[in-house]
């Protein structure tokens, strides 16, 4: 919205500040001036400035020149003249124009004025200083005809929507009512509309004329042939106008204002303003203003019950000011009276007991309660005149129950060289079907951003895959990403949210240097990361397993022979592995992608592992390697379990040091170098003991099919 300072100064000749300062003062009081454009003050023209305003939706009353002038008057303590437009005497008529409000819930007031013998043509300036041409020129508002200009002028001046009908097209009189089923009207935008029985309309005795508070009708509009007009200025209920406008997909200046609450008492003033502009081209008024009112709605707007305001409450909410004096009774009175409130003292005599019964202005439907008045006091007094104080410290601070766990998971992945990413909350239905841990529980959106984002993600894997593909398609070949986010499952009646971790890697290990060849990331690198993440938690048992392809238990997005399930204390805690080559091909990904998901809600049920220090033996450890040959069907897990089953306390550690295939071995065989460390806490191990341990190890692994390499 645009505001001319020249126009403001016409209302407030005593404005004591320049335009820049005025803009700043208005902005700091919530009447925000976003831009100031100098219109030139040379040649003694004094055009002043144009303010580009950004006014919050609750302050429709200030979205016009008179409303802004009222705010300025309050800031500087000036008197604002009452708007009044003198009209010539009307000619009496035997038959006053008929107005009937049938929709008494939705139309509070309807004023109608009949002008006869008017000439539709270019508008003339009609009183000294209030120049349609000048103001419209500065606002770059096109002049169209006196009828259109008059309603535009009333809108820009005082924010009151008005409408002008060709009186000769109205049959009988005006009825404000709900539409009847099947009724139609062609609106000013040329659109033929079928009306809904809920629509609030202006009709004559035979037909609909227009959508009340939204848009006038085509058939009763002013043309160059028009000789007699009816000037309408009314008050419509916000909800009724909003519903009608929405149903017809319309948003007009008029609907904007009525939806947010118009001034019940502004209609007759605006009507006079519009009439005076039209009459400048000739014509006369027939009959007195017809002013139909609905008392119930008047009581809800212009005649609201006064609101009690206590000074003590003002101070309780607002607190300390920079000024030692603080908010006084005089401050409250000064502000509220300037804004158009009526104040009647009702408190005790002591200054601190001051209280008032406040009558609310008809144009401020946003003011309803004591707190609304307190806000007005703070606003006009100036927010920045309040002190900066701190409340007393409250209770102990509580972190989220899983904050420490989440931070450990994040720390572990960061240390493993994975960057944290944030992916989309949504995915396509196909992606949901591919990645959901429980099929059929994906939740669709009613108004998705796009088809690709039609469903709440049941797994973070789809988003991870998209981000990995994005990197590869941009020729970023080394990718290591993780995301900690929410996943969703359930129905459109009830949606469950769970925390989940996704991770993905392609390319080489996170090492950068000139001296060693980069090594490609493999399944077991990612498995190592998973082991480390799970290892942060205090679990009794962690294992990795997989299922035969025909069992159909492996997620479809994983390579059936390069995937593992993570099982923690008997619960499935996630899946990871190599992306299924079919899925990779569909996404044109050539390099093998490793990725996975961990169900954090399950991990978070476990406490974090609490490190417990153990005594480190002073006695020398002895390392022994066993070079084994095995059939490929014998997995490490079998060897591991065989060694563990020995339960030799002195066998403190064992692991697979190296796994390799060798041409010298039989077909279907591989070699495994098993490294074992023996150590006692209380003595140096003797050679005979070691010999015995070794033969027990050889015997145990022999039972599961391993033989010593000779």
């Amino acid at each position: 919205m645009k505001i001319l300072t020249k126009w403001l100064r016409a209302y407030l000749p005593g404005l004591p500040v320049d335009d820049a300062r005025l803009a700043e003062d208005l902005t700091l009081r919530g009447i925000a001036v976003e831009g100031i454009y100098d219109l030139g003050s040379g040649n003694g023209s004094g055009n002043g400035s144009l303010f580009e305003m950004d006014i919050t939706t609750n302050r429709v009353d200030a979205m016009n020149h008179y409303g802004v002038a009222r705010e300025a008057a309050a800031i500087y303590g000036l008197a604002l003249p009452v708007l009044d437009f003198a009209l010539p005497e009307f000619r009496p008529t035997a038959k006053p124009f008929s107005v009937r409000i049938e929709a008494e819930d939705a139309c509070g007031r309807f004023t109608a004025r009949v002008l006869r013998g008017v000439t539709i043509g270019p508008s003339r300036d009609w009183f000294a200083g209030a120049e349609v041409a000048t103001y419209f020129g500065l606002l770059e508002q096109k002049q169209i005809s006196n009828a259109v200009d008059a309603t535009n002028f009333a809108w820009i001046a005082m924010g009151q929507p008005t409408h002008v009908f060709d009186l000769d097209k109205i049959e009988g009189g005006i009825v404000v009512r709900r539409a009847r089923k099947g009724e139609r009207v062609k609106t000013l935008d040329g659109v033929e509309r079928t009306l809904d029985p809920e629509d609030l309309i202006i009709a004559d005795h035979l037909k609909p004329l227009g959508l009340a508070g939204v848009m006038g009708g085509w058939d009763s509009m002013i043309t160059t042939e028009t000789k007699n007009v009816l000037v309408e200025a009314a008050w419509f209920d916000p909800v009724a106008v909003r519903r009608t406008a929405r149903r017809h997909g319309l948003h007009t200046d008029a609907s904007h204002r009525f939806e947010r609450g118009a001034d019940f008492n502004a209609g007759h003033v605006a009507s006079a303003l519009v009439s005076s502009i039209l009459l400048a081209n000739g014509g006369w008024i027939e009959g007195d203003l017809v002013d139909a009112r609905v008392p119930a709605l008047e009581a809800r707007t212009a005649n609201r019950k006064p609101v009690e305001l206590k000074l003590s409450e003002v101070r309780r909410i607002l607190g300390a000011t920079v000024d030692a004096e603080g908010i006084t009774a005089a401050t409250v009175e000064g502000v509220l009276i300037a804004l158009g409130c009526g104040l009647a003292t009702c408190g005790g005599a002591a200054l601190d007991n001051a209280a008032w019964l406040v009558t609310l202005p008809s144009w401020r439907l946003d003011l309803e309660r004591e707190i609304d008045l307190i806000e007005e006091v703070a606003r006009v007094y100036g927010y920045n005149r309040f002190a900066n104080t701190l409340p007393a410290f409250g209770e102990g601070v509580r972190a989220l129950p899983w904050a420490a766990q989440e931070s450990e998971v994040r720390r572990t992945l960061l240390a493993a060289g994975f960057h944290e990413a944030i992916g989309s909350t949504f995915c396509s239905a196909a992606e949901a079907a591919l990645t959901a841990p429980q099929p059929g529980l994906a939740v669709p959106l009613g108004n998705p951003l796009s088809e690709e984002a039609g469903v709440l993600r049941p797994s973070p894997v789809a988003g991870m895959l998209a981000m990995i593909a994005g990197n590869l398609h941009r020729d970023v070949s080394d990718v290591r990403l993780f995301e900690l986010g929410t996943v969703f499952s359930g129905t459109t009646e009830k949606v469950d949210e769970r925390p989940a971790l996704s991770f993905g890697a392609v390319g080489t290990l996170p090492e950068q240097g000139a001296l060693h060849a980069a090594r490609a990331i493999e399944f077991h690198d990612v498995k190592g990361v998973v082991e480390q993440v799970v290892g942060r938690f205090h679990a009794r048992a962690v294992l990795f397993d997989h299922f035969p392809a025909e069992a159909g238990l492996t997620p479809e997005w994983l390579h059936p022979y390069r995937a593992a399930r993570v099982v923690v204390d008997g619960m499935t805690a996630g899946w990871f592995g190599q992306l299924h080559p079919r899925v990779a091909a569909e996404r044109k990904l050539k390099d093998p992608v490793l990725l996975g998901e961990l169900y954090l809600d399950r991990l978070y049920k476990l406490p974090l592992r609490q490190p417990i220090a153990r005594e480190i033996s002073r006695f020398q450890p002895v390392r022994r390697d066993f070079s084994l040959v095995l059939d490929v069907s014998i997995t490490w897990e079998k060897i591991d379990q065989a060694v563990a089953g020995l339960r030799i306390p002195e066998l403190v550690e064992w692991r697979a040091r190296e796994v390799f295939r060798d041409a010298k071995l039989g077909a279907g065989e591989y070699a495994l170098l098993l490294g074992a460390t023996f150590q006692a806490a209380d003595r140096t191990l003797r050679e005979e003991e070691l010999q015995e341990f070794q033969s027990r190890v050889v015997e145990a692994v022999g039972k599961v099919g391993a033989r010593l390499r000779s």
Binding site: G319, Y383, I422, G446, G470, P510
Partner: protein, 367 residues
């Protein structure tokens, strides 16, 4: 180095001196040339070897040949030479490899170091944690709530009545199939973190001091500064005697911790259905210090957050479950800030979309 032991013909003091000085000089020269472990071993064998060592040869040849009265003179000098040789050997052993030997092991230290690449925390996580810790230090606990909310928590209890025009400003993504359900139960993607205010108040009586970080969604077209997915941090403080000046002081302090102690704050009136009075907060431009620059559109100020005193209507909704939220007895303030905007400002990010694309090159900058 080949060293010959000459035959001694005279055994007077002068002749002995001259012979031993010559030997000592040779020993020192030989020791100086020792440049590796093998050479040191050779020196030891050459001089001190039990059978073929030079000292053994001297004692064998010279001592035997010396007349009785000269044996003592020769013995003194022999022992002195032996001491010198042993000292030289000790020195050679202790010195380790020579410089020349070390030079052969030279490497190019200008090659870049081998780096174990670390992952980078997401700039949003980093900013969120920073904001949360500022308020934790002021006594605020952390709360969260669901991303799929009901109409009641997201709108109605935040004082957006059904049909209220303020609902238009937040284009809402809704869960499918809600049309037949009562308005208050309809599910939607929360458009702000404010519903957690209500969830928190319903679950505990005052006092409340809580910050709520979280992801929110709006049906917004994406551009350089708008994303349908973004994050907010909400704050709520409710107690007896919480005032607007407390709100000002709290946010002024928080902004100074987040952006530097020189930062100034400025409050002006705004409108949010769930607060009254409501305010927008600007901070003095962190790029130009308030002088005016491109980043602050020459205003010297940057708009950063919205806040206000909790509207009594919101307390009334909370009081349905926790009667202690009586707006006549308690008061409170709430604030909310967009995390992306703050992160973008702090880290010089120009496209909001880059925060959600997972591009390794972008994310790697925050390691």
């Amino acid at each position: 180095m080949n060293i010959e032991i000459p035959n001694l013909t005279a055994f007077d003091e002068a002749a002995l001196d001259s012979a031993f000085v010559q030997l000592e000089r040779q020993a020192r020269a030989a020791a100086a040339a020792l440049d590796n472990e093998a050479a040191v071993d050779g020196f030891k064998l050459q001089w001190l070897g039990r059978k073929q060592g030079l000292l053994n040869e001297i004692s064998g040849r010279w001592l035997k040949a010396a007349p009785g009265e000269a044996k003592k003179l020769l013995g003194v000098r022999f022992n002195a030479l032996k001491a010198v040789v042993e000292t030289l050997l000790d020195e050679a052993l202790g010195a380790g490899p020579t410089d020349a030997a070390l030079a052969r092991e030279a490497i190019d230290i200008t090659l870049p170091g081998t780096r174990r690449l670390m992952g980078a925390e997401h700039p949003i996580t980093r900013t969120l944690n920073e904001i949360v810790s500022v308020f934790a230090a002021l006594g605020y606990s952390v709360g969260v709530g669901p991303e799929v909310e009901t109409d009641y928590y997201n709108f109605e209890s935040m004082n957006f009545p059904p049909g209220h025009p303020a609902r238009d400003t937040q284009d809402t993504l809704v869960v499918a199939g809600q049309e037949r359900r009562p308005q208050r139960d309809r599910l939607l993607m929360r458009t702000h973190t404010s519903p957690v205010q209500m969830r928190t108040m319903e679950s505990q009586p005052p006092p409340v001091r809580i910050v709520i970080p979280g992801k929110v969604h709006r049906n917004d077209a994406a551009d350089a500064t708008h994303s349908p997915i973004f994050h907010q941090v909400e704050g709520l403080c409710v107690d007896t005697n919480i005032t607007f000046s407390d709100l000002k002081g709290t946010l002024d302090h928080a902004m100074k911790v987040l952006f530097g102690s020189a930062v100034k704050t400025r409050f002006f009136p705004s409108f949010f259905p769930f607060t009254e009075p409501s305010a927008d907060v600007q901070i003095s431009c962190i790029f130009c210090g308030g002088k005016g620059c491109r980043k602050c559109k020459n205003s010297g100020w940057i708009e950063l957050l919205g806040c206000g005193m909790v509207d009594p209507a919101v307390f009334a909704f909370a009081a349905e479950k926790q009667p202690a939220y009586d707006p006549k007895k308690i008061s409170g303030f709430a604030f909310g800030m967009g995390v992306e905007r703050i992160a973008m400002m702090k880290y010089g990010i120009s496209e909001i979309g880059s925060l959600f694309a997972g591009d390794m090159r972008f994310l790697g900058q925050f390691a």
